[in-house]
Each structure stands twice: as C-alpha cells, then as structure tokens.
C-alpha cells in the first residue's frame, strides 16, 4: 500500500539569527518568528499532502538557547498535525538531548519520542495492515561520540522500514562529529529509508535501497546557510520505491552577493547597481523576504567615493528604506567595502618611493615564512591589545590575511591622497 510522509530535522526553534549587525524592530519580530513559521509550513505541507506521519530527526531546539515559547510552539504544531490524524515521531539530537528535555510539558496524542538506550521499533498501521515500521533513537546526552547506527536491529524482511537518526554520517567537517558513523554502517542495518538529521544543508547520500537523506533545516539561520531551505515529502509507492520531493519552507532567505565597482564611477551609478542587485534578490526569493549581505569589490574610481565619510552608511540607508514594511522585503544587513584603489599594487610596489616601500612592506609580511604568526605578533605588541585579545584570538589565519589587505588599502588611501 502506498503512503506519504514528511521528513524534517534541525528545526532549532527560537534560535536567534547569527551574523546580523542591525535590524529594524519590525524585521526583528519577523525574524524571531521565522523558525516557528518555517516549522508551521512543514506541518501545513503534511496536512495538505495528507501525509501519514511526520518525522523529526533531532535538534528541535538550540540547546542552551531553548525557550519556553519554543517548547510550547513545538507542542502546539504537533497537536495541529495530530488533529488531522498525522502522527509525529521525534528523535532528539545533540542540541536537545533527552537529558535536557523539559518533561513537564505534556505532548499531544499521536506524538512519539524515541528513547536513548536502544533503537525503538514502532509500527504505523492502517486498516489492520502495517504500513511501515519505524526505528529510532535519541541522543541521551549532548556530546555523544558513540556510533548509534550499531544500536539498530538488523532487519532482513518485513514491511517498509525507516530509521530516524541524528548523526554525522561520513564525518562531515562542517558539523560537530557527534554520533559518527559511515554509510556502510547504515547499509548494514537493512532499512529502506534513513531519515537523518544534523547536517543543515540538504543532501541525498543515496537515492534508493536504501534512501539516505538529510533534509537540511527548514529555515536558514546564518550567512553560511544560504539559498532555499525546507523538508522532504517522501512518497512510498506500492512496490516500496521511494520518491523524494523537496519543499521549500523558509520564511526568510539568506543571500551573499558581490558588486564589482570597476565600471561604476558615480554615487548614482553605484546606487543603481546596488538597487538592481536588491531587486534580483527579491525576484529570486519571491514571495518570501530576504537578508542580503553585499560586498563591494574590485578596483576603480568608486573606491575613493566609498571611503568617503558616511557614504557606505548612506547607501545602506537608501537600500533599507521602506523594506521593513514590505512582505517581500530584502533587508541589506551589511554593505562591506572591500574595494581597492585603482592602483596596480604589484607594479606600484616596484617603485622606489614611500608608497612603493609601504606596499613592499605589506607584501613581505604576506609572503613571509609564517605570515599569520607575524601578524599576531605585531598586534600583540599594541598597547590596547589586551582589550581585544579575545576577539583577535578567534580570527582564523585566512581572516588575518584579509585584514592585512584591508590595512594595505587603508594605508593607500591615507598616503595616496589626490591634490
């Protein structure tokens, strides 16, 4: 018998967006509700598509930042699904392990939470017939280093079998290596579908026999999580074949774009180019809102314009004006000036004058034996270093080299003034 279910994970309800510098109060309200609305859309999808059940593969909350509001909203959304006869099966992840779960809040009927010792088996039945058998396990504690795939029973036959697991499969370096396992570990269990969670960008590790799927998170939370976010609608046909359909559920979409200033010589042309980019992003995000970070790059006459006091602020203001009132807003959070003056620094540093020596000093620092260590040493010698030592320590070596580029540009601006 064919049936449909929805697979989601990594809700991180009420988790604040990271990387924003300033947002208007109206927008702040919308952003705070974004994770909730995205999950509501997941439930809406399950209801509209008459899904038989909903799978949540861990990280419902953001752990330390868990709020009562998030717990209540999660409960209410599951209750709404239950009102439509949709059962929910929840496994907990490293951010919301069982040890930290607020057990006082009563969950509605038709909600099952998997335990943390062994993989539990639950049957989904319809008309006296078993549609599917679900196996799932939760993280008992936060930093779990065990291979949870080993705790699943070996399944040789029976109805369609689904495993619900929050784990780092294949050692993804972008995420913490909790509950690590390999695809081979999963294949050995003999299930038909692995509903995974933990990796925030959707990935289909294997399409069938079994399908191994990360749905990603329903709402991007920071600048690294750009583009469409959502969940998978999974249809299992009479022959047990799996058909995956991705559904975007994000309320706000994150974008990072660049604008090359090479051909932009005036304030008006620069603003026009930025506005055009903003409208492109609006089209690409339609009908939802978008958060946009723009990096001005390239060498050109507009560099001097950008470095003028207050210009970047004014441009940002012009791009933000009226956006907070729109439903399809594009909020430009940051306009980063990474432009360079129209000077060929490689050639210029060969001249034997002050500016040439300045550029040469920067180049020598950059190409020295251990440039990052040298830069850290220089910064540590500054009298006020202890004030910012903590923040400087967090900078990676690559970022330090970017700062050296900024310093070079700053020096060029100061030393190459036009008459």
């Amino acid at each position: 018998m064919s049936f449909t279910f929805v697979h989601t994970a990594d809700l991180h309800l009420d988790s604040p967006f990271v990387g924003l510098a300033t947002v208007s109060p109206e927008l702040a309200r919308l952003l705070r509700n974004a994770t909730f609305q995205a999950f509501d859309r997941v439930v809406d999808l399950a209801i509209e598509e008459r899904a038989r059940f909903l799978l949540v593969a861990g990280d419902v909350y953001d752990g330390a930042d868990r709020s009562l509001r998030a717990q209540l909203r999660f409960r209410d959304s599951l209750a709404r699904a239950a009102d439509h006869g949709i059962a929910s099966y929840v496994a907990h992840g490293n951010h919301d392990p069982l040890s930290g779960w607020e057990a006082d809040l009563t969950m509605p009927g038709l909600v099952h939470r998997f335990g943390g010792k062994e993989a539990e088996a639950v049957e989904v039945r319809e008309g006296g017939e078993t549609l599917a058998r679900l196996y799932g396990i939760s993280h008992a504690v936060r930093e779990l280093k065990d291979n949870l795939a080993d705790r699943f029973p070996r399944v040789a036959s029976g109805p369609f079998a689904i495993g619900v697991l929050h784990a780092n499969v294949g050692g993804n370096p972008d995420h913490d290596n909790y509950a690590p396992c390999t695809p081979a570990d999963l294949l050995a269990v003999g299930l038909d579908y692995w509903a995974l969670g933990h990796v925030h960008t959707r990935q289909v590790l294997k399409e069938r026999a079994p399908a191994i799927v990360y749905p990603g998170n329903p709402q991007g939370l920071n600048w690294r999580e750009q583009g469409a976010r959502g969940c998978y609608l999974v249809r299992v046909d009479d022959g047990g074949e799996v058909h995956l359909t991705f559904a975007a559920t994000d309320v706000v979409r994150w974008w990072r774009r660049q604008v090359d200033i090479r051909e932009l010589n005036t304030h008006d042309t620069l603003l026009e180019a930025l506005q055009t980019l903003r409208e492109e992003v609006r089209r690409d995000s339609e009908p939802r809102g978008a958060l946009l970070q723009i990096r001005l790059t390239g060498r050109g006459a507009a560099h001097r314009l950008c470095r003028r006091e207050g210009i970047i602020r004014d441009l940002l203001q012009a791009l933000q004006d009226g956006e907070a009132d729109r439903s399809d807003f594009v909020w430009v959070d940051r306009l980063e000036d990474a432009t360079r003056p129209p000077v060929d620094t490689a050639q210029r540093r060969t001249f034997r004058d002050f500016l040439g020596d300045f550029l040469k000093a920067a180049a020598e620092l950059r190409t020295g034996p251990d440039p990052a260590a040298a830069l850290r040493r220089i910064l540590a010698e500054q009298p006020a270093f202890k004030v910012v030592a903590e923040e400087i320590a967090e900078l990676t070596d690559d970022k330090l080299l970017v700062l050296l580029d900024d310093a070079e540009t700053q020096g060029l601006d100061l030393l190459a003034e036009e008459e």
Partner: protein, 1067 residues
C-alpha cells in the same frame, strides 16, 4: 622619456593643433589666462594616463570640433620611439615599425606608473608653493618630507595621527567610553539578562498543575449546583402557574353562554363598511372619464397633415445627411483646380532642374536602388581612405625627415661631448673593478687593523690589571700565619685543676670534681679550636698559592697572545699596503683618510662611467641615425605606393560614372545630390496625378446631387432650379418634411388617448355592479335580515372571541411554565396538591446554598483566570528571543569592531616601518640630489640634511648650525620645496623611466634674485631631463634666454612656444 611631438585633434579649446617637433631641454609655454595652458597640461597627462572625468562628465570636450583626444610621440630613455594615440576611450601605441597595440602607456611603457605618482614626482604646481606660505612650521615640515617621499599632499604624521585617532576611538588601555569597551559592557549585561530568563519552563509547569486542580474542584461544584437549580426551578414553576390556572377556568364558562354567535363571519362588519366606501368612489371616477373623452374628440377634428411630402421622408433625410459633405465639396472645388495647376508647374520645374533631356519616361527608368547608393558610398570611402593614407604617409615622412636631422645633430653633439671629456683615469672596466676590489680589501683590512689595535689596547689593559692582581696575591702570601695561641687553654686548665685541688682539700668533692672536669673540658675544646683554625689557614694559603700559579700561567699566555697580536697587526699592515698599492692609493692612516681615498676612487668611477655613458650614447645615436635613414627610405617608397593606389581608385570611379551617363567629374558626395533631384521630380509627378484624380471626384459628386434633388422636388410637387445645388435647397426641403411629420405624430397620439379613456370608463361601471352583489352575500352569511340586525350579531361575536383568547393565553402561560406539553398534566396535579407556604420555605433555603456554591466557583474561576493569564504571559513571552537576537547582533558588531581595530593597527605598523626604512635607505639619495640644486639656489649658503626619526628635512648653514623651520622665510621654504621635488624627480628617474617634468608657473612667488637662481637650476636640470614650463609671465622668456647663454649650445637648451586662445605657435 621625453615628448618628441604632439597633435591635438579636439580637446577643450584646441582643435587640430600640434607641435611637430618638441626639443629636449627646457620647453617654455607662454600664454594668458584661459588661453589653454592648463588644458594643454591636462592633455599631456590625459594621453599618458587617461582622460579624467568628473561624475561622468568630460570637462574637456572639444569645443571647436574634432575627435576628442590626440597623440603624443615620445622617445624613451633607451632611444625607442612610440606614438601614443588616445581618441575618446581608445588608446593605441604605435611602434617605430608601424605595429599598433591597444594598451595603456602606463602599463606598456611606464612600468605601471599611474597619474597620481606622476603628479607627486614629475609635476609641480604654483598652488603647492602658495600652500607653503600659509602653513604653520609643523605643516611645512610634513610637507617637505612628503615632497621628498613622493607623497604629494599626503602626510605621514597626519596619516599616523589619523590612524591613532581611529584606534583610540575603538579601544585604549584605560578607556571606558571606547566603542569596543562599550560593546563588551553591553554584551555582559545581555548575558546576565539571558541567565535570568532561562527558568521560565519550570514555572510554567507548576502553574499548569495548580490550574488543573482548581478546574477539577469547579467541575464538582457545578454538578451539585445543577441539581439544586433543578429543584428551585420546579418550585418557581408552581408559583408562576397558579394565576393563569385560575383565569383559564373562569373564561371557559362565559364562552359557553355566547355560543349562538359562533357562525358570524369573523370580519363581517369591517367588510360591510369597506364595500360602502368603494361603491361611492367608483361612481365619482366614471363621471370624470366621460368629460375627458369629449375634449379629445374636439382636438382631433381640428388637425391637418401633408401626406405627399411625408411619403418622401426617407429620401429627404438621406439627402439632408449629406449636407456637410456638399458644403465641403463646394468649398474644396476651387482649391482643387488651383492645386492641379500648381502641381503641373512644380513637375515641369523639377524636370528643368535635372536637365533639358529629362522627361517622365526617363525619370521612371532612373535607378535609385540601395545597391547604387552603396556603390557610390563605397567609392567615397575608398577615395577618402586613399587620400588619408597619402596624407598620413606624407606626415610620417616629414616626421622621419626631422628625426633624421635630429639624429644627425644629436650624433654630432654627442661626439663633441665625448671629445670634451678628460682622458680616462683607467684603461678599462677590468682595471677599475680591480682597483675597487683592492680598495674593498683595503677597507676590510683597515677595519681589521683597527680591530686588532683595539684588541691590543684591550690586551695591554688586561695585562696591567693582571700584573696588579698578581702583586696583590704575592703580597697576601708573604703575610705570616696567625694561629690561635695554645697557652690560654692550658693555663685555664691548670688553673681549674688547681682550684679543684683546693676544693678537694676542703673535702668538697662534688665541686672539686665539677671544677676539674670543666677545666679539662675547656682545655680540650680550646685545643680542638686551635687545631681547626690552623687547618683553615693552611688550606687558604694552599689555595692562594694555587691561584698564584694560575695567574702566572695566564700572564704568560697574555704575553704570548700580545706577541701574536703584534705579529698579526704587522701582517695586516703589510697586506693593507699591498692592496692600497693595487688600488692606486697610499695606505690610509686614519678613518678620514680612508673615506677620502674612497671618495677619490668613487670620483674615478664616476669619470669612467661618464665617459662610458658618453661613449654608449654616441653608439646608440649612430645606430639610431642609421635606423632612421632606413625608415626614411621605407617611408618614401610607402608614399609613392599610396599615391599610385589613390590614382587607381579615382580612375575606377570615373569609369563607373561614365557607364551610367553621368559626368566623370562628379564626386561621390555630389552624386548624392543628383539622386536627391530625381527623387524630388518623381515625388512632384505623383503629387500631380493625385490632385487631378481628386478634382474629377468632386465634379462627379456635384452632378449626382443636382439630379437627386430634382427627382424629390418633382414627387412632392415642389419647384427646383436646374443650376448648381446649394446647401439652402437641402435646408428648405428638410423643413417641409419636418412640419408634415410633426402633424402626423400629433394625430396618432390623440387617437390613442381617446381609446384609452373610453376603455377605462367601461371597466369602472363593471366594478360597481360586482360590489353591490358582495353586500348582499354578507347579509345572507350572518343570517341577518337588514343592516341593524347585522350590527347586533357582530357585537355578540366579538365578546365570544375575547373569552376564547383569554383561555388560550392562560394555557400558553401554563405551557410556558411547564416547558413542554407532557409536563403540563404533572404541573396541574402539583398545583392541586401543593401547599404554597411549604414550597416558599424550601425555595429560600435552596437559594442560600446555591449562592454559597456560586461564590466558591467564582473565586476558583478568578484564580483560574489569573493562572491562565500568567501561563499566557509566559507562553507569549518573546523576551528571551529578543535578548538573544540583540546579543547576537552585539557579538557581530564587536567582532567587526575588533577586525577594524586589527586592520588599523596593522596599517599603523606598516606606515611606521616604512617611515623608518624610507628615512634610512631612500631619503638620503633624494636629499643628496636636492642638496646640489639647493646649494646652487642659495649660493652655497645652506645645505639640506635629512632629520632621521623626525620625518622632515633640516637646513644647516656653513657652520653646520641648524636653521629651524620657524625662522625660514616663505621664499626659503619654496626653494627647499622646489629643490626636493627636482631631487625626487631625478632620483626616481634613475630607477624607472624618467618622464618630462611639468612646472606650472612655480617661480611666481620668488623674489628677483631667487627667481634667477631657481631658473638657472631648472635650466641645468633640463639638460638631462626634459622640462615643460608653463607660465603667463612674458618676462620668463627673457630670464631663461639670458641664462641659457651661459650654458653650452643655448639654442638647443631652450625653446619657447606661445599659446593664444587655443593656438600654439613657436617663437
């Protein structure tokens, strides 16, 4: 690099202006304000580095025509010649071989030198000098350092101060209000806030449980209250039902008495009255209708209609519809006739313009196709290209001729310069290198000798110290040993024993024993101490002897070492003398002598290099002259070839024209005029034919109109003139028809009204009969004999109805109390059986109990409401999310501020490091160059000194006394500034392609004496590097001319041009 020629196609006020030959040396441009000096300077900069635009507007658009831009011909330091052409946004570099390359000159020829660097190194403006006059002495110091460093108006101290200010705004060691510190403080507050907000979940669960308990209690109370309310309701029902029960019974008996009137029609009396009123109204209305019919018949009898005119109505209206068209045709007809005549005349004139042999047939046959036009345009392009090529080839040939003459003159001058040099101090480069290498060894050996001498002096001092120490040791050894004496111990022991013996004699055995023991013990201790003291002193003496031996050995070693050192020093001096001989100088005795010898050797090298440069120059010039000759030959051949090609194209064009019957003298641009005339004649013919057709159409219409008018008039019995129809005829005919149609419509209307009135009157009479019949039927139904009997029966019937209504109302009230029909019987039974007083007592006690329960439930409800509100508050609380978002935003801002701080700190470090490096390595040669110029300007009164670590330049006079900037005059500061800029241009040009120096009226502020000195320096400078001097002061021409006479070849050193309203002319 120097400019060899320039040509401006279109740039500001300049249009097709050029200088075919720009010489080396000083080029003076004289011109008034607004004549074009600044424009020319901008043109030169623009061709080299790109035309500058302000806000997408070009401030130097051609005002007098031409393409925007032009070209410069430049000669590089190595003798290569390039032509840089920049038109609009296209830049092309042409090599000597004619190869074109689309590339920016800065990248292709100037090693990436940009406009700003050019401005800071090779261009000096009046405003820069004027700026010095108004600056404070600190700013003057900055400015001079910047001038020597190629920084223009930028300043290192100012840059550092700016960076410090920005850094201090972010963070300081002891600050409290800096951005980073404020952010950290705010972040800390947010973290504390977050901690407080995270206990809400537990509170929510506790509150939920409390609310559930209260809700359970309320459910129990509600159940009890429901039962009580049910009993109270029954008691209230019995009380309510008692009154309607009594009324019902009374009215039932009265209704039975009036039963005889039961069959009277229910609304009989009202219907009787209504029928009477209707019959009276119908009679009045019938009389009115009779009067209206008589009046209508009278009006119909007096009405007349013209039926013949009315029958032609459609034809008349159709003709009348063409009234506007007829008026338009009548108005247009005379104009159309005149238009035909005019078009005929135009056509004849067009034919005459083409020629006497042109007629309509030939006009039709003429070919005006796109192919013909394209062929003519192609010929035009080819002829223009041929002429342009010829012109360009001639111009190149002329430039090459000039270049050949220049090369010959140059070769002659270079040869003379070489001959004028003094004889070479060394025979070849190998000898020079050998002498330099030998002198390097001399320097090394001299320094080694200095080190050895210093070592010898140190050794002497050490030996003296050592001897002193040896003497001291020997003295200490000669001192006698001073041991502790042995006799005090023995004496005291003997004395003690004696005392013990004395006490023994007194039989005091205990004291005697003690005394004896103490005496012996003391003596033993004393002897032990003496022994220990002796051993220590003997050991110290042995150590001294050992040290004395070591020192003696060391003394011998030092003596040996000194001997070796003396030998080494002698050997070094010998080698020094040997290398000095090879270096061609006497061995130096002092450091000053060493430096003098080094300076002498450097002089030898300079002389040698000068001679070599002169020789290289001669060789290069000879090569160049040969190359120019070869290119001149090629240019002449190219010109002849281009001219042959131009003649061939001209011949082909003539043949093409002849084949189509045109005169061969017609130019392609003139041919277009012939084609235009043919098109005009064709157009005139078309116009003529169109106008003739229109005139015919108008005449035909008028004829038709006249015929139709006559036919209609005849049918109506009217007369109509046979001449041209007029609009008035149409108007008269239409008027007749309108009158006939109005009369006919009036008659039809009256006839319809009369028929309607007669029909209405008949209907009224029929209604009167029906109403009379209805009154009779009513009397029969009531069983009455006449109207009075009918009215009495109506009163009895009304009373019977009232009794029944009261019974019904009482039963309804009882049913309302009982709520349903089934319960009515039980209610009646209870009413019959119950005691009203007992029921009242039971009701009062039940109500009291109910009030108590209600109050308890209300309290519970309020508490539940409060708890619900509390839960709602907790559930809807968004503060945690808000604070988290704010905290994240603050973290991001802090990270950005820290990155900004780091970038600023790194920038400051780089600037500081560069300043140190620049002062140590770069500045000295610039100052050295500038000092030579400055000494010339001040007559040797002052010289320039770099102030290391102070980012400025200092002045010293002959006595090495510093002259503080605060005491400088404005003129002195200007002299320093100009010297530094020339020194920088000279030093910069040593390591990169030297560009012409542009000076914009820089001498205006100088007094006459300083102006003379500065002009001399500029002239001298221009002997090695081309200088373009722009001024609006005529006297410079004479100043420079006078000074130039003091230099060899004055005519080639100075060239003067005037600029007058965009026209450049050589003087």
């Amino acid at each position: 690099m120097r400019l060899n020629s320039l040509f401006i196609d279109g740039f500001g006020v300049y249009h097709r202006q050029g200088i075919p030959r720009l010489p080396e040396g000083l080029v003076l441009f004289l011109g008034g304000n607004e004549d074009g000096k600044t424009t020319l300077m901008e043109f030169i900069r623009g061709v080299l580095f790109g035309f500058r635009r302000k806000d997408d507007e070009n401030p130097y658009q051609p005002l007098r025509g031409g393409n925007h831009g032009g070209r410069l011909q430049v000669v590089m330091a190595d003798g290569r010649i390039f032509t840089i052409q920049r038109l609009e946004k296209t830049v092309t570099i042409l090599g000597e071989d004619g190869a074109a390359e689309k590339a920016e000159p800065s990248a292709r020829l100037l090693q990436g030198l940009d406009r700003l660097t050019f401005e800071h190194v090779f261009a000096v403006g009046l405003e820069e000098l004027q700026g010095l006059g108004v600056l404070g002495f600190r700013d003057v110091k900055d400015r001079l350092f910047s001038a020597s460093a190629g920084l223009g108006s930028a300043s290192v101290p100012r840059a550092l101060a700016s960076l410090d200010k920005a850094l201090d705004a972010l963070a300081t060691v002891r600050g409290r209000t800096q951005k980073i510190l404020l952010l950290k403080k705010e972040l800390k507050e947010k973290s504390q806030q977050l901690k407080a907000l995270k206990g809400e979940a537990r509170l929510y669960a506790d509150t939920t449980r409390r609310r559930e308990r209260l809700e359970e209690e309320n459910r129990r109370l509600q159940q009890e209250a429901r039962a009580l309310r049910k009993r109270l309701r029954r008691l209230e029902q019995l009380a309510q039902a008692r009154e309607p029960w009594t009324i019902r019974n009374r009215n039932l008996s009265r209704a039975q008495e009036l039963e005889f009137a039961r069959n009277f029609p229910p609304d009989g009396l009202a219907r009787w009255e209504e029928l009477g009123r209707v019959l009276e109204g119908l009679a009045q209305e019938s009389a009115l209708k009779e009067g209206e019919a008589a009046e209508l018949r009278e009006q119909l009898a007096g009405l007349l209609v013209d039926e013949r005119v009315w029958a032609q109505g459609k034809s008349i209206l159709r003709l009348y519809g063409e009234k506007e068209k007829l008026a338009s045709v009548l108005e247009e007809l005379p104009g159309a006739a005149a238009g035909v005549r005019q078009a005929e005349e135009t056509f004849r004139r067009r034919l005459r313009e083409l020629g006497p042999d042109w007629d309509a047939r030939r006009l039709e046959e003429a070919d005006l196709s796109v192919a013909v036009r394209q062929a003519v345009q192609e010929y035009g392009r080819r002829l223009d290209a041929a002429l342009r090529q010829e012109h360009d080839a001639a111009a190149r040939l002329m430039a090459l001729s000039e270049a050949a003459a220049d090369a010959a003159a140059e070769a002659r001058r270079a040869g003379e310069a070489l001959a004028a040099l003094p004889p070479a101090p060394v025979s070849d480069a190998q000898e020079l290198r050998a002498r330099e290498e030998a002198f390097r060894q001399v320097r090394v050996l001299f320094q080694e000798g200095q080190v050895l001498q210093a070592d010898a002096r140190a050794l002497d001092k050490e030996q003296a110290d050592h001897r002193q120490r040896l003497g001291s040791l020997q003295k200490r050894l000669l001192l006698p040993d001073r041991f502790i004496p042995w006799w005090p111990g023995l004496t005291l022991a003997v004395f003690g024993l004696a005392l013990a013996g004395l006490r023994l004699t007194r039989l005091d055995y205990l004291e005697a024993g003690i005394t004896a023991a103490m005496s012996v013990a003391f003596g033993a201790l004393w002897l032990l101490a003496r022994r220990r003291n002796r051993q220590d002193q003997l050991q110290k003496r042995a150590e001294l002897e050992e040290e004395l031996n070591r020192e003696e050995a060391r003394s011998e070693a030092l003596a040996q070492e000194r001997q070796d050192l003396v030998a080494t020093l002698a050997a070094t001096r010998e080698r020094l003398a040997d290398h000095a001989r090879r270096a061609g100088c006497a061995p130096p005795a002092t450091a000053q002598e060493l430096e003098n010898r080094a300076a002498a050797l450097a002089g030898v090298r300079e002389e040698w290099e000068a001679r070599q440069r002169a020789q290289d120059l001669v060789d290069r010039i000879v090569l160049k002259r040969n190359e120019v000759s070869r290119r001149l030959d090629r240019g002449e051949a190219e010109l002849a070839e281009v001219r042959r090609e131009a003649a061939a194209v001209q011949e082909e064009w003539g043949s093409w024209l002849s084949a189509r019957g045109f005169a061969p003298t017609v130019r392609p641009e003139g041919f277009e005029t012939v084609l235009t005339l043919v098109e005009a004649a064709r157009s005139a013919l078309n116009t003529l034919e169109e106008r003739r057709l229109r005139h015919q159409q108008l005449t035909a219409y008028l004829d038709g109109m006249r015929r139709r008018l006559q036919e209609i008039a005849q049918a109506c019995g009217l007369s109509f003139p046979a001449a041209t129809p007029a609009v008035a005829d149409l108007e008269a005919l239409h008027h007749s028809y309108t009158a006939a149609d109005a009369a006919r419509q009036r008659r039809e209307h009256l006839e319809r009204a009369l028929a309607a009135v007669e029909q209405e009157n008949a209907r009224l009479q029929k209604q009167q009969a029906v109403k009379e019949q209805a009154r009779q039927q009513l009397l029969e139904q009531a069983g009455a004999t006449d109207e009075e009997d009918f009215r009495q029966r109506a009163g009895a019937y009304r009373q019977w109805r009232e009794c029944l209504q009261k019974v019904e109302a009482a039963e309804t009230a009882l049913l309302t109390v009982a709520a349903q029909a089934d319960a009515l019987a039980a209610l009646a039974e209870d009413l019959a059986a119950a005691d009203p007083l007992a029921l009242e007592e039971e009701r009062e006690s039940g109500e009291r109990r109910l009030q108590e329960m209600t109050a308890a439930m209300d309290d519970n409800h309020q508490e539940i409401g409060r708890l619900t509100e509390r839960l709602k508050d907790l559930a809807g609380k968004e503060e945690l999310g808000e604070v988290l978002l704010e905290e994240r935003c603050l973290r991001e801002e802090l990270a950005r501020a820290a990155r900004r701080w780091a970038a600023l700190a790194l920038c400051r470090h780089l600037v500081e490091e560069t300043r140190r490096l620049y002062e140590r390595e770069r500045q000295p040669p610039v100052i050295q160059e500038a000092d030579a110029f400055f000494r010339t300007m001040t007559g040797g009164r002052y010289h320039l000194v770099a102030a290391v670590g102070e980012s400025t330049i200092r002045l010293e006079d002959d006595t090495l006394g510093a002259k503080g900037e605060i005491t400088w005059s404005a003129g002195l500061a200007d002299q320093v500034y100009l010297s530094l800029r020339l020194g920088l241009a000279r030093e910069f040009g040593r390591h990169a392609e030297p560009l012409p120096v542009i000076l914009d009226d820089v001498l205006v502020k100088f007094d006459p004496r300083r102006r003379q000195e500065a002009a001399r320096v500029i002239l001298d400078f221009s002997r090695q590097q081309q200088v373009l001097f722009f001024s609006c002061h005529e006297e410079y021409r004479f100043i420079f001319s006078e000074l130039a006479r003091q230099f060899p070849e004055p005519s080639s050193l100075l060239t003067v041009f005037t600029i007058t309203d965009g026209v450049i002319a050589r003087l």
